[in-house]
């Protein structure tokens, strides 16, 4: 048997370590490299073509009925809602009673106003999901981001985190307040391969339902095939890591209420640096501070050991 001296031990460890690392590297799933998720491969999505929307609000009514939401304040064929503004002069947003709303934007030079449908964008790496400390959100393989009200504590961090200001909270309920948002009709439709109620109800075919990757290709074909008609950008393709609901528009997105400064990184990328510090502190601090203690109390310890001049 070879003598196990220090040199051989180091050589052996290095060799073994490299072998293990290579094996692990080969076994590692290629798609996990770089830490990007990019969505489930067969995730469904919806492409929203804002050039077609006429603001009829049938989608709002369909959602209301499908999700069993309470009666609205005004009928769904009442278009005075487009003149409603909330705090700060902002247009309507999703609420505990309305998982989707349509807003109107007057655009200079455009013959008709532009109408924009807002709902949860079902991000690939949702901020709400990453911020929830009771794991109440799930990104389903079908693409929907769903929510489990049975574990929700009501901390409302998801509302802080969502860059699209989507989740609402039933503040009016003292006994069982929960988050309210679009779930892409997962329980009643998506699970069974059917499109969400709003998509099916739209008389103008504003929304196209299909596999997300196919919709991306389709959207770019539309842009190319209709030169000058669409703004050359598919909103949601890359924003905050990519979303399942994507938008095409003939008006620049920043003019119709879209946040165009979101960047391509999913929200969790902004938090990851801190999350890495957690294990660092847990591992380093004990030794570090024990060291400080030993170093700074040496004099004391010496005095205690030999209490004489």
């Amino acid at each position: 048997m070879k003598k196990l001296n220090r040199r051989n031990f180091i050589k052996g460890s290095l060799a073994g370590g490299i072998a293990a690392a290579t094996a692990a590297g080969k076994a590692k799933n290629a798609s996990a490299a770089g830490g990007d998720f990019g969505g489930y491969p067969d995730s469904m999505g919806v492409l929203v073509d804002l050039t077609k929307c006429v603001g009829c609000r049938t989608c709002e009514a369909a959602c209301n009925k499908e999700q069993g939401l309470p009666e609205p304040d005004k009928p769904f064929d009442d278009y005075s809602v487009f003149d409603e503004h909330r705090h700060g002069g902002l247009p309507r947003r999703t609420t505990e009673k309305a998982y989707t709303v349509v807003n109107r934007y007057k655009v200079e030079g455009r013959e008709h106003p532009l109408f924009r449908k807002i709902q949860c964008n079902h991000c690939n790496e949702p901020a709400c999901l990453t911020s929830c400390f009771v794991n109440a959100y799930t990104k389903t393989p079908e693409g929907a981001v769903i929510y489990n009200p049975k574990v929700c504590v009501g901390c409302r961090t998801c509302m802080i985190a969502c860059p699209f200001y989507v989740p609402a909270y039933s503040y009016s309920s003292p006994i069982n307040p929960v988050v309210k948002k679009c779930i892409m009709c997962y329980d009643t439709r998506l699970k069974f391969g059917r499109p969400p109620a709003c998509v099916e109800s739209c008389p103008q075919g504003v929304m196209t339902f299909g596999k997300r990757k196919n919709l991306i290709a389709l959207a770019h074909e539309k842009i190319e095939g209709n030169p000058g008609k669409y703004v050359d950008h598919l909103y949601g393709e890359h924003e905050v890591g990519g979303t399942s609901w994507m938008y095409l528009s003939d008006v620049p997105f920043e003019e119709i209420g879209f946040d165009t400064h979101l960047g391509k990184e999913p929200i969790i990328s902004y938090v990851k640096d801190f999350l890495a510090i957690v294990p660092m502190v847990l591992c380093i601090w004990p030794a570090l501070f024990t060291g400080f203690h030993l170093l700074s109390t040496r004099k004391q310890a010496n005095q205690e050991e030999s209490p004489k001049a």
């Binding site: 609205p72 064929d77 998509v199 596999k211």
Partner: protein, 173 residues
């Protein structure tokens, strides 16, 4: 030489019945009841004749290339410049009632024809085609201008007899 009287009668009747199926549908006084999608609204009484006059016989304005005329959209010309009349130029023969069912999606996904990959569903096709033109020509554009709302529709839209009562609004948050 002549056919027997009965046979002549039978032949005439046969021709009369078969005529609509083989002759171009441009018989005078044709009004179609488009009611396959009737649910929230009643079906539409569509005056086909009036529309033929309105488009000055240019069938492709509505029927793309399926009426035997070259399509308006330049993207389609390379393949459909000389397309014959389709077996049925009716909208519902190409535009599906449920375009996004998993069956239909898997079919359209595999469709090698780039421009046919996503056809609007039947409801969307009607509205896009009809209203697109109506907006330009001053035709009816309101929902109830073409089809009256049913009671089911009133319930769906929380309107008419189902209008929400005042005073129940949720507080603004």
């Amino acid at each position: 030489m002549g056919f027997k009287k009965e046979k002549r009668l039978g032949l005439a009747a046969f021709i009369a019945m078969a005529a609509p199926l083989v002759l171009p549908i441009s018989a005078k006084g044709e009004v179609f009841e488009l009611s396959s999608l009737a649910n929230l609204y009643e079906g539409v009484s569509f005056d086909h004749d009036m529309h033929i006059e309105a488009v000055e016989n240019n069938c492709s304005l509505c029927h793309h290339h399926t009426a035997g005329t070259p399509p308006e959209d330049q993207t389609c010309i390379p393949c459909h410049k000389n397309s014959p009349e389709a077996e049925s130029p009716a909208c519902s023969s190409c535009h599906l009632i449920e375009p996004f069912s998993s069956t239909n999606l898997s079919i359209s996904e595999k469709n090698p024809l780039r421009h046919h990959k996503v056809k609007p569903g039947l409801k969307a096709a009607f509205h896009l085609n009809c209203m697109g033109c109506h907006q330009e020509t001053g035709g009816p554009v309101g929902c109830q201008d073409c089809h009256a709302m049913t009671e089911k529709g009133e319930k769906f839209y929380n309107t008419g007899q189902y209008t929400p009562k005042a005073g129940n609004e949720t507080a603004h948050h």
